[in-house]
């Protein structure tokens, strides 16, 4: 029997706290899960530094990838199968793309991408199309199959319906991570009736649409997304950890450029510092490797690198105040001068962090064709954009809420062993009394 159609003798199941079970019957899926590139995702946390705020958030991209696969499996096998708009030949492609959609994520992706100008999506493509075990499995399905899987994930595949299952404003990716992140962080937001949403999904030529009768279930999903953003993803303490992590990477890079001699050669970082990261270099990185360096850099000679690593490892994070750039940018310039006078480098210890610095988004009704919105399928077969039908969605999708915070090391500002008067001046400006 051709490889694409081979089934396992017995169904394999993974116990999963969100979906109860993840079911695998297809040989291709089972083989992909067993590849070393996919197993690597076990060593990369789904929520990066969030575990420093919500101690349960230790779940990995491996868990999430299996979850997205399971949601797509339920959609294509239980909801779409047999519908005239759905081509069953796209089933395996959809399942593989779902399973592999996050394959190129590295450790603490967001900070690493910012500092070293990387793009995890580029590495997802490279793993699927390059000399890897994943590519070997996919090529057994057909010579063009890896390319098609890569295109679905890059959203450039010709069949937009398949793309929209994996990536749209109501897709399997978001439905899994909202529920999974809620479960592992322990918050009470993030819950919605996914079973109901899956049942009211309908395939159309270019996109998945939602039957009008399912509008309230989708409202709940949009609210979950909104609340998770502010309560979990954009938590100010997590942002503080992210700020410190980013500054560690900047410092290490800067030291390398200045020919600083590290006590132990950071060999895993060299290609990152030079911004010439090969696929093989990239695949060697995971959070265990990075945390090892942070651990040993606590004993480095450089006081900034040492201090930042100590803060990260021991969770001695920066404190923050609300910051209004429009009214306070002159105050920021003044603080920069005072920090320098106090011997505290403002490039590393005075940081403005904004809501746009995070890779999560809100629902957008897609005015002016920016993004494809969620469409409701009305009884007369007409499509209507969600926020035009739902007052709840309309009320949160039209409002802009943005946020900026100023981060600083409070302990250094209270250390009066040096530059006492300047530090007092800084504390007065920051209203730390």
């Amino acid at each position: 029997m051709e490889y694409a159609k081979q089934k396992l003798h017995e169904e394999k199941v993974f116990k999963d706290p969100v979906h109860r079970y993840v079911h695998v019957r297809d040989r291709v899926i089972w083989d992909l899960i067993g590849t070393k590139e996919f197993q690597r995702l076990r060593r990369i946390r789904q929520l990066g530094t969030t575990y420093l705020t919500f101690h349960g958030a230790e779940h990995s991209r491996f868990n999430h990838s299996l979850g997205v696969y399971e949601i797509i499996r339920r959609i294509v096998d239980d909801v779409f199968a047999g519908r005239p708009e759905w081509n069953q030949d796209d089933r395996l492609l959809s399942l593989c793309a779902a399973l592999l959609h996050d394959l190129g994520h590295g450790p603490f992706s967001h900070s690493f991408e910012k500092v070293f100008h990387l793009d995890h999506e580029h590495f997802t493509q490279a793993i699927i199309l390059g000399d890897t075990e994943v590519n070997e499995v996919l090529t057994k399905v057909g010579p063009d199959f890896p390319k098609h899987v890569a295109e679905v994930i890059a959203k450039t595949y010709k069949n937009k319906l398949v793309v929209s299952l994996i990536s749209s404003q109501i897709d399997a990716d978001r439905m899994d991570y909202l529920q999974r992140d809620a479960y592992f962080t322990g918050v009470s937001y993030g819950h919605f009736d996914m079973e109901r949403i899956l049942r009211v999904m309908r395939p159309r030529e270019d996109q998945v649409v939602i039957k009008q009768s399912g509008m309230h279930a989708v409202e709940d999903y949009i609210m979950s997304r909104y609340q998770m953003y502010w309560q979990v993803y954009f938590h100010p303490v997590t942002r503080s950890a992210e700020v410190i992590l980013t500054k560690i990477l900047h410092r290490a890079k800067e030291l390398h450029e200045e020919y600083y001699s590290f006590k132990q050669s950071p060999i895993h970082f060299y290609s990152l510092f030079e911004e010439e990261v090969s696929l093989q270099d990239y695949l060697k990185l995971d959070e265990a490797v990075i945390m090892y360096y942070f651990q040993i850099w606590q004993e480095e000679e450089d006081p900034i690198l040492r201090d930042l690593c100590e803060r990260f490892m021991n969770r001695n994070l920066f404190k923050y105040v609300e910051f209004d750039p429009a009214k306070e940018y002159k105050k920021h310039s003044e603080l920069e001068v005072l920090f320098k006078k106090a011997g505290i480098d403002p490039d590393y210890y005075l940081v403005v962090d904004s809501s746009s610095d995070l890779p999560y988004d809100f629902y957008r009704p897609g005015e002016e064709e920016e993004r494809l919105p969620i469409h409701l399928l009305m009884r007369n077969d007409e499509l209507r954009e969600l926020s035009r039908q739902s007052d709840i969605v309309d009320s949160i999708s039209g409002k802009r809420r943005t946020d900026h915070k100023l981060y600083y090391p409070v302990d250094l500002l209270y250390d009066e062993s040096t530059k006492k008067n300047i530090k007092r001046q800084i504390r007065t400006i920051l209203e730390l009394t």
């Binding site: 991408e113 910012k114 793009d119 999506e121 890059a154 959203k155 450039t156 010709k158 937009k160 270019d206 996109q207 209004d324 750039p325 429009a326 940018y329 002159k330 920021h332 310039s333 403005v352 904004s354 809501s355 746009s356 890779p359 988004d361 957008r364 005015e367 002016e368 064709e369 920016e370 993004r371 494809l372 802009r400 943005t402 900026h404």
Partner: protein, 169 residues
């Protein structure tokens, strides 16, 4: 502080006024592909390259009062107009990012239609592929826009023109 915001403000200032969110998205994407130092990350979406980060940053600039956004009803849909405010100009006095030749490129893009910029940005998105594959991508992924071969050729020529502007000056 807010270096990436300042870069965007410089782009708004260089453009004068930008009409339409889609146009704004495509202009910044094209400028980024021309190696102007914008940091916003773009992905391919239904209507071509789109950056959520850019959308959020523009919202922040509007909330700060540095950019004015005017919403206008245009037939069956809304259109947005963006200009730099007096407060924004004051901010740029301190934080302006000097990007040589940006103004010339943006001014040129700003007089093009959003439809044409969507095509140009799609062509640029696939610039690692051979020309015939790019053309095929445009026909497959943008079938609803019904771009003609002439328009695609025009887009290629336009990109060369923009690159020339950046190099020649």
């Amino acid at each position: 502080m807010l270096k990436d915001h300042a870069k965007l403000m410089s782009a708004f200032l260089a453009s004068g006024e930008v009409v339409g969110r889609k146009k704004l998205q495509k202009m910044i994407f094209i400028a980024k592909k021309l190696e102007f130092p914008f940091q916003e990350k773009f992905q391919f979406h239904f209507y071509g390259p789109y950056s959520e980060e850019l959308t959020l940053r523009v919202e922040e600039l509007c909330n700060m009062g540095f950019i004015s956004e005017v919403k206008e009803k245009k037939g069956g849909y809304y259109q947005y107009r963006y200009t730099v405010t007096k407060e924004g100009e004051d901010f740029l006095q301190i934080y302006e990012k000097d990007m040589p030749y940006l103004q010339d490129c943006l001014t040129d893009m700003n007089v093009q239609s959003a439809r044409f910029l969507e095509l140009v940005s799609t062509v640029l998105y696939f610039d690692s592929l051979p020309k015939e594959e790019v053309v095929e991508k445009v026909f497959t992924l943008k079938s609803k826009q019904k771009y003609t071969t002439e328009e695609i050729d025009e887009a290629f020529a336009y990109i060369e023109g923009l690159k020339g502007k950046k190099i020649v000056q």
